[in-house]
């Protein structure tokens, strides 16, 4: 009879599970987070930041425009199937926008969410050509994408070599997956323009053994190394780089390879490591005082509350801030407090955040201005370079937010999105 009992339990629990409702009349921002699995340590920080900012809005301002915010959290473990389950289980509760937080889940959700009319915000990841709003009506990847990142890094490298990259050797160490392969085409185009020599070194998941790659780098003596890594690959790469005594200030990571987690295991030797970023670092902004007062001290912090001010926490908070601002924009546009996903999409498409608004939000100078439009879902595409200070154990911005090489990137985006449109028979929207 054990089996029967189990079946019965299954059925009842199944019924319970699907009928658990979210409180109505809330603005629902589902969190597809990952706190377990190989990428868990990174996902945790992002999720904490995302949740804490909404908690802050609820506690301090009573929500957005007077409506409380709910953030049902769903664990994906960076696994596409779990991501699907999370999406399906939360979309019925009036979900306004999804942050899939994984390349695989983003690709999977792009057609699905578009069909369901729910916007996706893949902030600095996912499908790069989604920046073309004419083709991807419901997908946003402002404020920047991987191709911007690649271009900004190259620009920085060019700056530190007195504006000339001709004949320099640049090596890209990348996660051997869709994510890691993203910058290659851009870097190749840029190589034609700047005349540097690009070599590619893939690292398989999970990336615990990278001896071959770093021995190769040691032999080739490239002038610069770039990294597109994630998870344990970052820590090992930085450690190996210090082992072969590669000059750390010539080693630049993408924004997913530039958190405290990545440099800490290498200790003092990681001093000087650089990464590109699209938002400010550290907790020296007025908003953190509010978070401390209304969230942490009130015992409402997400997770164990130990991550405030870390790079990925800030990124999660920034994502939440952008979502909240878009929701507020949508509320104004449609003159209603309880917006729908379609209205949220309009809000995202008309999102404008200038320096004054950032100041008012308690984040002066935290990020560049954002100006989303119907045709441009990719935002300004600005980035700055941050550098690790191992003594102080903190990141510092060492450049201003600068733009990417639109000349090279725009045609690439147009080409890739046109291919997607052709494959899926999508008519370009009229954005005039």
């Amino acid at each position: 009879m054990k089996f029967k009992a189990i079946t019965a339990a299954l059925v009842t629990a199944g019924v319970l599970a699907t009928s658990a409702p979210a409180a109505l009349a809330d603005l629902v921002f589902p969190m597809l987070s990952y706190r377990t699995g190989p990428y868990g340590p990174n996902g945790t920080e992002f999720a904490d930041g995302y949740a804490d900012y909404f908690t802050l809005l609820n506690e301090r301002d009573g929500g957005i425009g007077g409506v409380k915010v709910a953030t049902p959290e769903c664990e994906t473990a960076y696994n596409t199937q779990k991501g699907v389950e999370c999406y399906e289980s939360t979309k019925g509760d009036g979900a306004l926008v999804y942050q899939p937080l994984s390349t695989g889940i983003t690709y999977q959700l792009i057609p699905k969410a578009t069909a369901d009319g729910i916007p996706i915000h893949s902030m600095g990841y996912g499908r790069t050509s989604a920046a073309n709003g004419k083709v991807f009506s419901h997908v946003f990847n402002y404020p920047g994408n991987y191709w911007d990142a690649a271009s900004i890094i190259v620009k920085h490298l060019s700056d530190v070599s007195d504006g000339d990259l001709k004949g320099k050797k640049i090596t890209l160490v990348y996660h051997n997956s869709a994510y890691g392969k993203e910058p290659i085409r851009t870097l190749e185009e840029l190589a034609k323009k700047h005349g540097y020599e690009l070599s590619l070194l893939p690292v398989d998941h999970p990336g615990q053994e990278q001896k071959s790659q770093w021995l190769q780098i040691r032999r080739d003596r490239p002038d610069f190394v770039m990294m597109w890594g994630w998870g344990v690959m970052n820590q090992v790469a930085i450690k190996e780089a210090t082992n072969i005594r590669f000059p750390m200030d010539k080693f630049v990571g993408v924004w997913w390879s530039g958190s405290e987690n990545d440099v800490m295991p290498a200790g003092d030797a990681a001093n000087g490591y650089k990464a590109v970023t699209f938002h400010g670092v550290g907790d020296d902004y007025p908003v953190f005082a509010d978070i401390k007062k209304h969230v942490q001290d009130a015992g409402k912090a997400a997770g164990d509350g130990s991550n405030v001010g870390s790079v990925l926490y800030n990124r999660g908070m920034y994502a939440a801030m952008l979502a909240a601002e878009a929701a507020a924009t949508a509320q104004k546009m449609h003159d209603t407090q309880e917006i729908t996903a379609a209205q949220m999409r309009d809000g995202m498409e008309n999102l404008k955040i200038d320096a004054a608004r950032l100041e008012a939000l308690g984040l002066p100078g935290f990020a560049p201005e954002i100006n989303v439009s119907c045709a441009d879902h990719g935002g300004p595409g600005l980035g700055a370079i941050q550098q690790w200070d191992a003594k102080a154990k903190e990141w510092k911005l060492i450049t201003e937010f600068t733009g990417s090489d639109r000349e090279v990137i725009d045609p690439l985006i147009a080409e890739d999105s046109a291919a997607f449109a052709a494959e899926n028979k999508i008519e370009e929207r009229d954005c005039s």
Binding site: M1, F3, T36, E75, V84, Y107, T114, S177
Partner: protein, 358 residues
């Protein structure tokens, strides 16, 4: 009392040899099929389709395939993820090359292509046995995934190496792509799984299945009594890969709609299917379904109970979920090492005697 094997008289060979010779079994199967075909399509919604039923059917197909190889023929395989990738990429290439082709045909052709790859990687099984054979299949796993990641032809030279399923139809009803109605994708998978579960059941009852089981129980003895090991092992690899290939094709085209090899078809998928087969019951068709249900539904269920009903923080729930799944697997194995299918058999035994067990 409730389950009777006696008193079920047969008057012809045909009725004696039918797929389910016992009347109650037959009624039960017809009942389940009736619900699956006549009730569920009318009540299904997106959540049940994408989170429960379609994944269950897809994994049940994979588990059927692996059960043929591991459960019936005794060859341990950890290459399931790689073979699923073959099915998925074959399916993708076929979908793109022949947009008008019926999806059923596409999936079956993808299965056939996988079967050929399976035979190639099954060759070492003639010499290597037991856990050592796992290495041959692991080589397949890692090599195939690497190959699909590396050779741009497989993903039609797309920028990032992701493949996405375009919309394809069966009798003018979309079964892939974002606009496919839930009932259509569900029925599509259901038809394939039911048909091929029926085939598997009869294969394992017939000559082929018996030769597999002879090899499993002791291959030298089997060889002596005239079972050709080459034929038996390779046919098991071929048919198993055929099923796994179809499951991979459905996994990619119907269920996810997009995939990249390293994440979607990693080694963890191989282990997952192996867990299903062992938890469900080695050498049992029913076990494949029960195992798939256990491994797919329990995590969803635990998550929903802990986060949805009890309202625990998601991170604690995620860790406790791991802990509970592990504990459940161990408890099940201690209670019934031969899998859920054996529990079912025991239940039938009890029902037969109930209410007078003595």
């Amino acid at each position: 009392m409730f389950y009777r094997e006696a008193g079920d008289f047969k008057t012809s060979y045909a009725s004696d040899q039918q797929t389910f010779p016992i009347k109650l079994d037959r009624y039960f199967v017809w009942g389940v099929l009736a619900i699956a075909f006549l009730v569920i399509p009318f009540v299904i919604n997106d959540y049940w389709e994408k989170s429960v039923l379609v994944p269950f059917l897809v994994w049940a197909m994979a588990a059927l395939g692996l059960n043929i190889l591991t459960g019936y023929c005794g060859q341990v395989s950890l290459g399931t993820g790689g073979f699923m990738a073959v099915g998925a990429y074959a399916c993708y290439k076929l979908m793109v090359a022949f947009p008008e082709m019926n999806m059923f045909l596409v999936v079956i052709l993808a299965g056939l292509i996988t079967a050929m790859v399976g035979i190639a990687f099954g060759l070492p099984s003639l010499r290597i046995k037991g856990f050592y054979l796992a290495v041959a299949t692991l080589a397949a796993q890692f090599f195939l995934v690497w190959l699909f990641n590396k050779v741009p032809w497989f993903y039609n030279y797309s920028a990032s190496g992701q493949i996405s399923a375009p919309e394809r139809t069966v009798f003018d009803i979309a079964v892939t792509g974002p606009n496919a109605p839930p009932w259509a994708t569900y029925l599509f998978c259901l038809i394939l799984v039911v048909v091929f579960a029926y085939v598997a059941r009869n294969l394992t009852r017939g000559r082929t299945g018996r030769s597999w089981m002879a090899i499993r129980d002791m291959d030298i003895a089997a060889e002596i009594i005239g079972v050709p090991p080459l034929q038996a092992k390779l046919s098991a690899f071929a048919i198993s890969s055929f099923y796994i290939g179809m499951s991979g094709a459905m996994f990619f085209a119907i269920y996810l709609g997009s995939a990249e090899p390293t994440e979607a078809f990693g080694i963890d998928k191989s282990f997952l299917v192996l867990f299903m087969v062992i938890v469900g019951g080695l050498g049992s068709i029913l076990g494949s379904f029960l195992g798939a249900a256990f491994m797919i539904l329990i995590p969803v269920l635990l998550k929903n109970i802990m986060v949805g009903v009890l309202g625990w923080p998601a991170d604690l729930a995620a860790h406790i979920e791991f802990l509970l799944i592990g504990a459940l697997i161990m408890i099940f194995l201690i209670a019934e090492p031969h899998g859920l299918a054996q529990l079912w058999r025991v239940t039938k035994e009890k029902l037969r005697l109930w209410p007078f067990p003595h």
